[in-house]
Symmetry: C2
Subunit: 333 residues, 2 copies
């Protein structure tokens, strides 16, 4: 398996990306090759600094152009053809790699994936899925920001895409699908959620009903669907609250010289544990990481990419869209 | 000043409400009378249990009828005329009390306030404001759930209502108003936020622009406006994350026998510190508390009610709606 890794995305690029790849190779070395995309010189320096690499574990593709924050995402392909994002995704389009992982601009990765990889036939709006840590298993929330002003049928499709991700990547046989809403009752919500509720209820998904903001952290569903506006607000809020809590705790721990074992607390709140948001519904594997990703987060994103390839998640989604029978879904509970 | 206190709202009613009132009277005893509304016998028992009360500090109004969770909020006035909610709000309408504080059903308090107190002339949609704890001063977010499917001009009015609350209750001279959105740039967002941005930009409010989910916890604005759908999701999510973190920390502390001083962490995350969400835009003072409110949260809600009366917040809003000059707003920065 060959994975293109954008080495110009994180705050600590390219060292963080390369350290993430190195972590992955400690675990699964045999069939994995990284195609490191970015500025060759710093990449090669970071490779040497990281340690000793198995022969054939890494290749470097020089793509030094920067995607700037002010660049319109939709014009990345045209304006920044030699950027690591465009180069890495093009490698996948051309069959040179099986997946692409990037901590670069979410908008640029998304737009470039849509343009070069294309949505799968039948997908109205590819969506960004993101794993939210909960008290139970993590919940995949989508859309996390690719689409605002969604229609009810978009939310239904997000649910289908998310359910396949949960099957293939989270190992859940019959994923519980919830609809983010402001009350449990089917009569609660805005126009969008009222209509989406009806569509989800009629679907063959394992729909568990409305999920309120307070229920998310309990892990009451495997897949949580919402409009990309509220999903994006919620995701960024969660990340910041987690980071803030960790900072407060760290400060207190230092001040008090306490030896309290906060590992469990931090593990639950720590976003890096779940690094890597898939863009679901495109004809390829495109995993988006946070710009602040530490090596462990990159490592986790690479694992997601590798497993999406191994399980042929994209083929699974395509078969589902063609209406081919999917024994994984048991129908309404 | 006379404040009607619903004594049938919290999980620990009426003891929690009465303990909250007792806390308040330790601080400000002279001009305050509580009108305790609910089932007379348990109220009088709780009064005796709570301690010794100043002569004239409390009166009891018997209103034993329960508002059930399945009651449609809009029919509370007609179906539950002898409930503590309807009785307490009617007392305010009739001028018997100056404010009403309740931890009962948010929907019932809101609908009953709208029906009996009425929106102030010119208010399209009263909104629920709620204080979010942040790393800096708390932020008033509105709407927290009274209105879904808002129009841009509703968000503009929420901003005006919230700014007056921030002046009168939070002591902020020129409140910074932010618009909850998915990006900082004016071009980001859904249709609602794009249009609301333009309206806020043109207003005489101190508009500081879009605020992302990740910025909330930093306390970058005093007033944060959003549709009631996203506001409600966010509020409930925040409460649950805070509660969850506190639970994790408590468990760890017990297990490790640590002596770490978590007071600061807990204070920031502890919602009870800020108890009491005002319904802004009605002709009266109606403060809604969480059903899980502990006495300290009730106490804080009572303080909010008392200060809203002292500052004549309702009159301030009415003058603002009539377009009378308000020197507190400096205009655009």
């Amino acid at each position: 398996m060959r994975i293109a890794l954008d080495c110009m995305g994180t705050d600590g690029a390219p060292a963080s990306e390369i350290a993430g790849a190195f972590l992955t190779l400690q675990e699964q070395a045999d069939d994995l090759t990284f195609v490191l995309v970015g500025d060759r010189v710093p990449i090669e320096e970071a490779l040497r600094a990281a340690g000793s690499w198995r022969q054939g574990a890494v290749e470097v593709v020089h793509a030094p152009e920067r995607v700037l924050p002010e660049d319109p995402p939709a014009q990345t392909v045209r304006r920044r053809p030699n950027s690591s994002i465009v180069t890495g995704i093009r490698l996948q389009k051309e069959g040179e790699v099986d997946a692409f992982v990037s901590a670069g601009s979410t908008g640029a990765v998304m737009a470039t994936s849509l343009i070069l990889l294309r949505p799968l036939p039948g997908v109205a709006r590819p969506a960004i899925g993101t794993l939210l840590p909960t008290a139970a298993a993590p919940t995949l929330m989508l859309d996390a920001g690719a689409n605002v002003d969604c229609k009810p049928h978009h939310l239904l499709q997000f649910a289908s895409l998310g359910a396949i991700y949960a099957q293939d990547l989270m190992g859940v046989d019959a994923p519980r699908v919830g609809l983010l809403n402001i009350g449990e009752e089917p009569t609660k919500g805005d126009e969008l959620s009222l209509e989406a509720f009806a569509l989800l209820k009629q679907s063959n998904l394992h729909f568990v009903g409305n999920v309120e903001g307070r229920d998310i952290i309990r892990g009451v569903c495997d897949v949580l669907v919402c409009d990309g506006f509220v999903g994006n607000v919620l995701l960024k809020f969660y990340e910041s609250v987690a980071a803030f809590t960790i900072k407060l705790l760290t400060r207190e721990t230092e001040r008090e010289g306490a030896r309290m074992d906060l590992e469990e607390v931090l593990r639950v709140l720590d976003y890096a544990e779940y690094g890597g948001a898939p863009l679901l519904g495109v004809n390829g594997v495109s995993i988006i990481c946070h710009g602040h990703s530490i090596p462990r987060a990159i490592h986790n994103a690479i694992r997601v990419a590798a497993q999406a390839v191994r399980t042929d998640m994209v083929g699974h989604i395509a078969r589902d869209l063609r209406g081919e029978v999917d024994p994984g879904f048991p129908g309404p509970p």
